[in-house]
Amino acid sequence: MTRYVIKRLVQSIPVIFGITVLSFAIMKLAPGDPLANFVNPTISMEDLEASRSALGLNDPWYVQYTRWLSEVVRGNLGYTYAGNHSIRMLIGQRLPNTIILTLSAFILSFAVGVPIGVMGAVRKNTRTDYGLTIFSLVGVSVPSFFFGLLMIYLFSILLGIFPPGGMVNIRARYVGFARIMDIAHHLVLPAIVLSLSNIATVSRFTRSNMVDVLKEDYIRTARAKGLRNKAIVYKHAFRNALIPVITIFGLSIPFLFSGAYITESIFNWPGMGSLGIQAIQDREYGIVMALNLITATLVLMGNLTADILYAVADPRIRH
């Protein structure tokens, strides 16, 4: 087991390195001069060139990359062109909000997706199963921005049950428990929108695993022993079918972060996604790059954790 963990850790070192190179390359390829926003228009070409040299912008790319990397590992993600705000501070303010949203969607995906998948497998080829299969396919097919707009239209505009956007009721200024309830109230629609497609993926995956497991010899043995169907499904089959679902844990993370971009911008959720969209509109490449770097690293760690959990749950995988 230790060997497996070490092997996976060693494998992720070049990947982390690649992630930083790609993030850096994306920023370097961006058009526009970082100085363009700072200088006053009357500056001479010589002075401009001098300050470019002073800032190291004329150094070869690998020198710039090394310098940038050494700042990043010390936690300095740079500053915005406009206003010279610390990017780390900006992201630090937004990251918790994105985590609240993605974590809720994550929990919702498995809490709803797994039971749907099990139900489909147990009632394989019945009307319930076909209905659930079609539901899952619709779930992965609906564009999330369209689904989000539909939900706002239905639940905010027509029914008025949930707020159409934001994270807190600004006018009410709740504190303590009332504030938590207020956030939860704002969280319902975005969490549903963000998780829909993932619910569908989880349920399809769970169903096909469960169908496979239900064909195994030990299930037949359990039936031959005369066990009740409930005991077979939930004690014997369910546990084994659940193991591969761990791999979806890892896959869900990049998926949910991607989805957060759209969901947050539709619902004005003050997270990293809406920060990213704003950054793109303002051409703040520093923020875009920092977001790429942070999410890619989170995803890598998520995958690593999922792989290790998988190996813990299923010893056969270690070899």
Binding site: L22, S144, S258
Partner: protein
């Protein structure tokens, strides 16, 4: 009707496919959209960027409600919504098919090389796949199309160059399995070259899973193009795209009062993606009798 050699792998798969009602529905929906894309100019009397004037002829007919002349009304600039949806099918299908062509070619080559030759080549290629996969797709796409000026072809290349990783992993796995089989050893035994083994023995055996992957990839490419265009970094106005037709719905007045602007383009996106998924599921079940 006998298309393939009787009782061959593809003949059996074809017969299983034709018995699958959802798969047939999916194929019909997909073909219907291809038909719309090809014949858009015949299906509507208007042009996609043609402006219409209000009854008194002085102002543009902005946000006109559905009527006999404009079955789905007009948009913010007084253009016919239905016409833009029909022409939008062209953009969507062009982008999705071209992007999937790129990602399939790259993914298949990388997967074949990594799986067949193994060793360091495999290690390096798979780490590159790991790097690309670590970036949430949409982040990477948005970064790419922000840096380069967004256009239809940038969207195509961005999706194509980001989405090849799934195909690469799939092909590599299949190659690893197939290259250990007896007929490959036999071919090697009689002195076939690597090129010949790959072309004659391995590629024909990975076609089925790659075809399934192509359909799934197409469905995902449709969604990605729509998402990028919705976020304003994909297909740009005045070119109609189902995604950029929904941008306007972020204004609460449009969302509240003018459902004809945003419900139809969203619904056709859903329908097309659903159709392609039905088709893909049907193909998978047809190729894999165990299911």
């Amino acid at each position: 009707m006998q298309i393939f050699q009787k009782n061959s792998f593809y003949d059996l798969a074809y017969r299983r496919f034709m018995r699958n009602r959802l798969a047939i529905i999916g194929a019909a929906i997909t073909l219907a959209f291809v038909f719309i894309a090809v014949f858009a100019p015949v299906l509507t009397p208007y042009g996609p960027s043609e402006f219409f004037f209000s009854a008194d002829g002085t102002t543009y007919s902005r946000y006109a409600a559905p009527s006999g002349a404009h079955l789905l009304g007009t948009d913010a600039l007084g253009r016919d919504v239905l016409t833009r949806i029909l022409y939008g099918a062209r953009v969507t299908i062009l982008v999705a098919f071209s992007a999937v062509l790129i990602s399939t070619v790259i993914g298949t080559i990388v997967g074949l090389v990594a799986g067949y030759f193994g060793g360091i080549v495999d290690g390096v290629l798979m780490r590159i796949v790991d790097v690309v996969i670590s970036f949430p797709v949409l982040f990477l796409l948005i970064s790419i199309s922000t840096i380069l000026t967004p256009s239809v072809w940038i969207v195509v290349f961005a999706i194509g160059f980001v989405r090849w990783t799934n195909t690469a992993r799939l092909v590599r796995g299949e190659v690893l399995r197939i290259k250990e089989l007896d007929f490959v050893s036999a071919a090697r035994g009689v002195g076939s070259t690597s090129t010949k083994i790959i072309l004659r023995h391995i590629i024909p055996n990975i076609l089925a899973p790659v075809m399934v992957q192509i359909t799934i990839g197409t469905a995902q490419a449709v969604l990605m193009e729509a998402s990028l265009s919705f976020l304003g970094v994909g297909v740009q106005q005045p070119t109609p795209s189902w995604g950029n037709m929904l941008i306007d719905a972020q204004r609460s007045l449009v969302l509240r009062e003018m459902p004809w602007i945003w419900i139809p383009p969203g619904t056709v996106t859903l329908l097309l993606v659903l159709g392609i998924y039905f088709l893909g599921d049907g193909l998978r079940d047809a190729f894999d009798p165990k299911q």
